[in-house]
Structure formats: structure tokens, C-alpha cells
């Protein structure tokens, strides 16, 4: 048990979730390393959601609400950190959820599938029963997607994604929204909307935004999306990274 008085209590709770997920066997080998990188960047923004991240989230939700076939892509880390929040967001914006693993193994897919089904979320895609399609001639798990999910989606929300994978999705013509604490990553740079935030703060905030934006006229949402400049917003995100002195 981590004492609540510990100066890094929240961060240590998340770390514990990742360690447990690793023990359960549904994380990739280097998933914990990726989490550590995120921890460092979150630390550098004061573990708070920044204004440019909030702006990106509004645009992201608008884009998702305007989409015909939005899909949320989940991997082991996203499941470990925010499974309930992801299900809630998916229901709010009427998006599908697909298990999409960079290092796909049947065992990991099976465990993650069970975790979603245990929570009453039966319509999860990307499971072993699904038809898998490939975006490239090289048929590996990096380029694979569920036929009724990401493969045919128009907009994809990807919390925590590898750069290679993001590139493949972008090249295939998808609208890409990413949540990535590193604003300098390839994933952040090549996405249409890049949210520099911790998914445990971003996902529930996006659900709240969705409740609000759903009451808006479509024209308003379209203007939000069209007015957004991701490159400019990423620059502002980078400026939020403050090296606090000693």
C-alpha cells in the first residue's frame, strides 16, 4: 500500500496498475518502459492538464462526434490505466473499441478481451474471433486491424501509440487523434489532433466535453475542427513543459 501522504501518490498508483497488468501478462515487454517515459513527461508538465491539451480535446471530441465510424484503439497500457473511462467515453460518443496491439499475441488479446467483457462490454473488436485485415503488404501485427473496426474507420482515437503504427494508420488515410505525453514523439507530430496529456485525466475529461458538445449544432463542431492548427497547438504544448528549478 502506498501512503496517501506520499508526494507522488497519484503517480505511484498508476505505476502499481501497470506493474499488476504486467504480472497478469497483458502488457508488451517494453510497455513498462513506455509508461516510465510518460511519467517523466507528466512530471515535467506538473501532472496537470494544460490549456493546449484541453483545446486539443475539444477539437478531438468534435471530430469524433462528426465521424461516421469512429473507433477507439486500445492496447495493454490503456486498458490497465483507464479501461472503465474508455468504455464510458466510447458509449458517450458512440464509438467502437478495438484491441489493437503493436506486439500482438493471442494470449494478450484474450486477457484484454476478458477484461472488457467482464465489465459488461461485449462488443469489443480486434478479438481472436474477428476478421483481421492488413494495411500494408507486410502482414504483421503492426499493420493489422479489425475489418469492422479500425480498418474501415474514418476517425481513430489512439491513446498511447507507437510511432510506426501511427504512421501506417496516417498513410492509410485515417483521421488520427492521439493522446501522448511526449509532444515531440513521431506519433504526436503526425497526428491530426495531438493531446499532450495523461490518459487518466484526458479520457474522463473528453467524456465531459462530449456531453456538452452533443448539444451543439453540427456547424459549430465543424468550425472547431476546421479552425484547429495541430502544429501550432503542439508548439504551445511544448512551451508548457517547464523545467522547474531547485
Amino acid at each position: 500500500m502506498i501512503p496517501k501522504t506520499h508526494p507522488r501518490y497519484e503517480s505511484l498508483l498508476l505505476r502499481e496498475k501497470i506493474v499488476k497488468a504486467s504480472e497478469k501478462g497483458y502488457l508488451a515487454d517494453s510497455a513498462m518502459i513506455a509508461h516510465g517515459r510518460g511519467e517523466a513527461f507528466d512530471y515535467l508538465i506538473g501532472e496537470k492538464t494544460t490549456y493546449p491539451a484541453k483545446r486539443a480535446m475539444y477539437v478531438a471530441v468534435a471530430a469524433l462526434l462528426l465521424s461516421d465510424n469512429p473507433v477507439i484503439s486500445v492496447n495493454g497500457n490503456a486498458t490497465a490505466l483507464a479501461i472503465d473511462e474508455i468504455i464510458e467515453l466510447a458509449r458517450e460518443i458512440n464509438a467502437k473499441i478495438e484491441i489493437n496491439l503493436f506486439y500482438r499475441t493471442d494470449e494478450r488479446v484474450q486477457i484484454i478481451t476478458s477484461l472488457f467483457r467482464d465489465r459488461g462490454y461485449k462488443e469489443i473488436l480486434g478479438t481472436l474471433d474477428d476478421d483481421i485485415e492488413y494495411f500494408t503488404d507486410i502482414k504483421n501485427s503492426r499493420s493489422s486491424a479489425s475489418k469492422s473496426g479500425i480498418y474501415t474507420a474514418d476517425t481513430i482515437l489512439i491513446p498511447l501509440e507507437d510511432g510506426d503504427r501511427a504512421e501506417i494508420l496516417k498513410k492509410s488515410g485515417k483521421n488520427i487523434i492521439t493522446i501522448d505525453l511526449n509532444p515531440l514523439s513521431r506519433t504526436s507530430k503526425m497526428s491530426d489532433v495531438s493531446i499532450m496529456d495523461n490518459i487518466v485525466r484526458a479520457i474522463p475529461f473528453m467524456t465531459k466535453i462530449a456531453k456538452d458538445l452533443k448539444t451543439q449544432d453540427k456547424k459549430v463542431l465543424m468550425d472547431m475542427v476546421n479552425d484547429f492548427d495541430n502544429e501550432e497547438n503542439l508548439k504551445e504544448s511544448i512551451e508548457q513543459i517547464k523545467i522547474r528549478g531547485i
Copy 2:
């Protein structure tokens, strides 16, 4: 195999070493997360040794050469990343090496001991055969040390250390030299000499410095140590963290 042309080749090689060490069973649960944090900070300094780090290394080597009983503390990550380099440095500066684990288990101690002995380094301390002493009344692995090693050392070089542990060692009156990529960590702040660098670059560089400084008069080394201001040097280290734009 990681292709040599990959833009993050060196970093991925280290990541692979950490993943393998984890599979071998000698890393703590959260060791990979700690590595990821280090990766992020290393990325932010351009994966190069900065000038303040070099200055700290010169002072560190001078302090180690002046010590009566210097000890290098190693954990799982340090072993995975730089075991050969650590042995070389220890021999060059005539320091002992002690296995000192924050989450000590017999299995992890045994594996790390074997790795050192396999390399012909038989005099490793902190093994299961060693007398273990405790710095505090709370007798857990965080406060434990080998009687002939860290417990009686005057100067300790600690690559990659937890803040709690660093605090215990500092309170016990030791001279603490740390290698930590996060210049804002508690470990960095409370050490006598804090080297903000990746241990895979720092350790071999310190061996080179040792070859040089060994030819110097003791008075010169003492002046180096006395003139050094760790707080000031940490401030300069922090200034080296550049958020490179896009």
C-alpha cells in the same frame, strides 16, 4: 534485431538490455518504468553528456580517488546496462562493488552475483554470504548494507538510486555521488555530487578521467572537490534540458 539505421538505435539497444534483464528475473517490478523515465530525460538532453555532467564526473572521480573506502553500489538496472564498465571503473579507482537492492530478494541477489562472478569478478559484496547491517531501526532492505561494503564506506557511487534509499545513506553520514538523468529527483538534490547522465556514457568516461587524475597530486584533487558547488552545478544541468521545437 534493431536495424542500425533506426533513428533511436542506441536507445533501443539499451531498452532491449533492460527487457532481457527483466526476463532473466533480476530486475525489480518497477525497474522498467524507472528506465523509461531515464529514457525521457536522456532524450531531452539530446542523449549526449552535458558539460555540467562532465564537471561533476571530474569531481566525483577526484572524491573517489581521495577516499579511504569507496564503494560502487549496483542494482539490477545498473548491472543490465553497464556491468563490464562498472567492473572496469571499480578496478581503476580501487573501489569495492556491492549489490544493494531497494527491493531485495534472494533470487535477484543470486542472479546478479552470478553475473559478476561469471565475468571473473569474485570479490562482489552484498551477496547472500555477506554480513548485512542496517542503518535504521526499521530493518528492511532499503536500510541494509554489507558490513565490509557500504556500511563502513566513506564515499559511495550510486548509479540509479531511489530517493528514500539515497536519503538514508546521506543521513548516515556518507559522501554520496549519484548518476541520475533526472536533475530534479530527490536523489539528485540530496547528493554531494550529482551527475545528470546516462550511466552507459558516464561510467566509461569516469574510468578515463580516473586514468588521468591518478597522475595528479592529492592537493589538486582536494581543490577540485572543495571548489565544487553541487547545487549550482545542478542548476546548470537543468538548463541543459532543452525542449527542442518541431
